[in-house]
């Protein structure tokens, strides 16, 4: 294109989309969700294509599980969904118990439920904090909810530390029951903690719900239709936010969940705001379940197997089972094939975040770049589960 001097040319700008930009949202980016690479194809500010590259945290869980015994693996299992480590171990241990037809005592089942629900609250607090930080900016207003939510989460992690000894990754679940019992005074501390959290959730809702900026960033963003949700296989708050009334704790109850009364929140919007509403109601329902669990906690042993003296003590006979758990992100499943020895023959993790993330290439095109961050936050992936 040449412009001659002394010759006026009229230049018209044309945004007919003839130019596409490939932008990399690389494995290191401040959205704080982990190592995820999205190669975005942009037309202007609108995303027209997403190529999701994962695998930056592939830690060979499935191959390693064939070399580790049933006693050794649960604490490694907690590193798949590391934000909700209790529910990660739950699936593996349940699968081994299903094949070996190992009974779990009632007290252990209730302890498992209490731990899993406390973990759900802690995980949702982290989700809320990081999602709001993504949308608001780390040095701007976004850090407000993040710092408040982490303050609440630390109180729950204190409870876990007094129960198990670790803050984030536990080895609490064991084939046959749980590894530790609750110490004296733990039940009262737990009740006090969840009372405080119950009240503070109300404060967060008050900060966010009627906030026009929050609504502008979350309403009608990232709509997942019901048909797409079922076809791709997403689960958890994403599925319930799209109108499907499905919760494993209600539809296929495990570990005495049928003894507890709670409601399953379902929203029909399918957008980020609906998923946010589902998770906020799940906070309250988990608090209800914990209160019921602590009130009705039966006495008895915490494990049906004797204490471990050697790592190869637990042998599971030949068989296979698929055990699934309703984690904070959806259906966490463990497909286990046992061959009679102390180590599994094959173990497959059905990671909730792997299936949840697969929906991104279907819903992101059409949104702006800023919405990508909001959608990713509301999908809430944890890359230990995605890459295993």
């Amino acid at each position: 294109m040449t412009l001659d001097a002394g010759h006026t040319t009229r230049v018209e700008f044309d945004y007919s989309g003839g130019e596409r930009l490939t932008m990399n949202m690389g494995p290191q980016h401040p959205s704080a969700h982990g190592v995820f690479r999205a190669i975005l194809t942009l037309e202007g500010e609108t995303v027209v294509g997403v190529d999701a590259v994962i695998g930056y945290l592939h830690r060979c869980h499935e191959k390693l599980s064939e070399t580790l015994t049933y006693a050794q693996y649960p604490s490694i299992a907690s590193k798949t969904d590391y934000v909700a480590a209790m529910t990660s171990e739950f699936a593996y241990v349940m699968a081994a118990e299903a094949i070996g037809k190992i009974e779990v005592p009632k007290r252990a089942q209730y302890l498992r439920v209490i731990a899993a629900e406390l973990q759900r609250i802690a995980s949702h607090l982290l989700w809320l904090g990081t999602w709001c930080m993504d949308m608001g900016g780390a040095l701007g207003g976004g850090a407000t909810i993040f710092l408040y939510a982490i303050r609440e989460r630390e109180t729950i992690l204190d409870l876990f530390e007094s129960l198990v000894g670790a803050r984030l990754l536990y080895g609490f679940y064991q084939v046959g029951g749980t590894r530790y019992d609750i110490p004296a005074g733990w039940a009262d501390a737990c009740r006090k903690t969840i009372d405080v959290i119950d009240q503070r959730i109300g404060e967060y809702e008050g900060l966010l719900e009627d906030n026009p900026f929050f609504q502008a960033r979350a309403k009608d963003v990232g709509v997942i239709t019901r048909e797409l949700a079922e076809d791709v296989g997403i689960a958890g708050p994403l599925l319930r936010g799209s109108g499907v009334n499905f919760d494993l704790r209600r539809s296929a109850p495990y570990s005495s969940y049928e003894d507890f009364s709670f409601t399953v929140p379902v929203e029909t919007g399918g957008d980020c705001f609906a998923r946010y509403r589902v998770r906020m109601v799940e906070f309250r329902e988990s608090i209800k379940i914990i209160r019921q669990g602590l009130d009705k906690l039966p006495d008895g042993p915490i494990s049906s197997r004797p204490g471990l003296k050697s790592v190869a003590q637990i042998r599971i006979p030949k068989g296979e089972a698929y055990a699934r758990v309703e984690g904070p992100r959806g259906e966490v499943g463990c497909y286990l094939i046992a061959d009679g020895s102390a180590k599994p023959y094959r173990m497959k993790w059905r990671g909730a975040s792997f299936s949840n993330l697969a929906v991104l290439p279907h819903i992101i095109p059409g949104h702006k770049v800023a919405d990508v961050v909001a959608i990713m936050g509301s999908v809430d992936p944890v890359f230990g589960e995605v890459d295993r």
Binding site: V11, D14, G26, G34, R59, C60, L64, Y82, I150, R151
Partner: protein, 223 residues
């Protein structure tokens, strides 16, 4: 966007080059021994520039000149250690503990550490989580983008040595096979208290940082 100039082509298509990631340089390296020798040499930016060297020589030629540079060193090191900006580089579970360290209860901002997303503006890389073979070139690229002087803290057993996943086929057995590390923080994951301990040890190291071309030895008081 196309500029339509009447009389010229109806649309000028500007195609940006499709970014290609260059092949990792280890393809040119014969074996691991050569790779480790490459990494044992310190980055050149640790040494001061020729201009600065001639300036300090000039100062030292005056009586009492050494006192000036020592006090200046101490002042600069104090400024450097009190404002270490880590690049947000969370990989796995340790990242959650790192976030907890940066958050309400264990606040590191009181130590002057502001987590900063851009590596070009940061001093410290806290490698928190397992380094996989797919991620290692990205990690090296981010580390290369950080300006000198820079430090690296290896957080957690996965970054120290591969951790519980050491025997996996896709896991790098420790981030010190990729970048030079100053402080190793053990744990799986290390609780925020441990990470704070590691960061304070790093601040002690920085206090002894001298622009003489060699990194300081670990704090001799810690044994």
């Amino acid at each position: 966007m196309g500029l339509r100039v009447p009389g010229a082509h109806p649309r000028v298509e500007i195609k940006p080059p499709v970014p290609t990631i260059p092949a990792p340089i280890w393809r040119n390296i014969k074996d691991l021994q050569e790779w480790e020798q490459l990494h044992q040499k310190r980055p050149e930016g640790d040494k001061h520039s020729a201009a600065f060297e001639s300036l300090t020589d000039g100062i030292h030629s005056f009586p009492g000149g050494f006192v000036v540079t020592t006090v200046a060193d101490a002042f600069l090191n104090w400024a450097r250690k009190s404002s270490v900006w880590p690049v947000t580089f969370g990989l796995a579970c340790c990242a959650i503990e790192m976030m907890a360290t940066f958050a309400s209860r264990f606040d590191v901002e009181r130590l002057g550490m502001v987590p900063w997303a851009s590596p070009r503006h940061s001093d410290l890389m806290v490698v928190s989580g397992t380094v996989t073979i797919k991620m290692a070139p990205m990690l090296e690229r981010i580390y290369d983008q950080m300006p000198d002087p820079k430090w690296a803290v290896s957080m957690g057993s996965c970054a120290n040595s591969g951790g519980p996943f050491r025997h996996g086929y896709h896991v790098v057995k420790g981030v010190d096979r990729v970048i030079p590390v100053d402080v190793y923080v053990p744990g799986c994951p290390p609780p925020p208290e441990s990470l704070l301990n590691g960061l304070l040890l790093l601040q002690d190291q920085i206090a002894h940082f001298r622009r003489t071309g060699r990194r300081a030895a670990p704090n001799p008081k810690v044994d």
